[in-house]
Amino acid sequence: MWFSDYRTKLSNLRQLPARRGWLDGTRAQLAAYIVSRSLLPGEHRISHQFRLATPLAAALTALLLIMVGATGVAAQHSLPHEVLYPVKLAVERVELAVTLGRTERVQIRLKHADARLAEVGQLTDRPPELVVGALARYEGEVVATSKLVSDASIDQPSTLSDIVRKRLVRQQQFLQRINEETDDEDDGDEQRKHSLIKRVAVMRALKASSEGELASLGVELLPEQSEANSTADEVKAKPPESGPDAAESLYTTGAAIPLPPNQITDLVVEVEMKVDEARGRAARLEAEDDRSPKLNKALMKAEQRIAEARNRLSEASPNDAAAMRSAYRRALKAYQLELEADISASEPSRRRRDK
């Protein structure tokens, strides 16, 4: 019967597999997103009522904070495996709930992200799952921050993106240091396995952070598409003319948030640093013998982005904010690709060692 024949053929389309790396990566991101949302129970639902009831809520919260004051203060220094840690998270949640301005909320989020990293710094000799948990919460904070920034209306966009970018860069430097220190722990199989688990979590956090950095520049996060349409992006990303209409149209077309000219020099230095870091790390990976084809591909792409970033920089005039941003975006992409390569380089070796 031809009907059942076609049914079988259609059912066979089910054999097509999704990429394992994507499935695992998305699961980790989803878990981080869930953690970030769980820090804000019912944020959407309460927002309207909350605005109406703000003075009352603030008063009640202040009362609550006074009541739990002593515990709250003690909890501020607690770590994920300690009894008071949930109190610390609850206090943070309250702090966020009573903060209404976008810029202020972003700053609170960044502060919480710093707190998560401080915990990571104190957990280095603890079981890896504690570090992984703290880093997942860090990713959650970064994702939430990026969302706040990318949802931002056009009021003070450059101030907001600048705050976020600088803070994320500092956090990335901290994560890099943790990563380098984790590399050194190399005695015994068990210890090595723990180090690798931590390292992969640190890489993921770095990647989330650099994605947050991209989002703070108003860059679309669909990589291949936005690269393919980069010329169109750059046309849109030209500095806006003054006036509310220009600002409004910039926002609605999704163009990049403009950077004030005095930040361009800093940006150039940052690009150079990112490029050099990525090159250094790529060269270190190059030295390893057992690189997979996937890893090679990621490294080649990273190298290509680095070259593109350098070209853009050399072609850009000092006042060309769009070209600078484009160079910066390419350098960040290179950095991300290189991190991905590093993650995939660590993961197969972890599996091998587990066998």
């Binding site: 097509l16 994507w22 989803l30 769980s38 669909l222």
Partner: protein, 162 residues
Amino acid sequence: MSRTQSVAEAKFLEAYDALAQPLWRHAYYRVGSRELAEDMVSETFTRAWDSYRERDVDNLRALLYRILHNLIVDHYRKNRPQVSLDEVEDTLVASVPGSIYDLPQLPKLLAQLPEIWRQVLLWRFVDDLPAADIAKLSGKSTANVYVIIHRALRELRRLAPR
């Protein structure tokens, strides 16, 4: 974090493990791009979590398919298809190892069907959704879904080279 919240999280991540693959496949056969399908499915799960945590959801699978379907529809509203199924055919065939069926033809044939027919066939045979769920997703009656399946299969047969 409350116990209820942890249970909800665990259930949601279980749903991810069970449904991420089929949802991706569905998106892939409809948009013809691996990466775009991946982005859409990631977005589907984050949006679904926002709904899931705020209200009772009886049928999480139907919710996920509904969100994904809306994303695909939005995508086509904003952009014309960038890659045709013809172009991705090689990748597709290469990714189905040892298939004894004439898969090379099928995506091409599917691409020639009206959008709603293709959609219904994918929901029914690739995603294995019951006709009642397909009826809800497509806004048609269950009887109409069966009619569409029948006509679409007949059309596939007509289009197939002899």
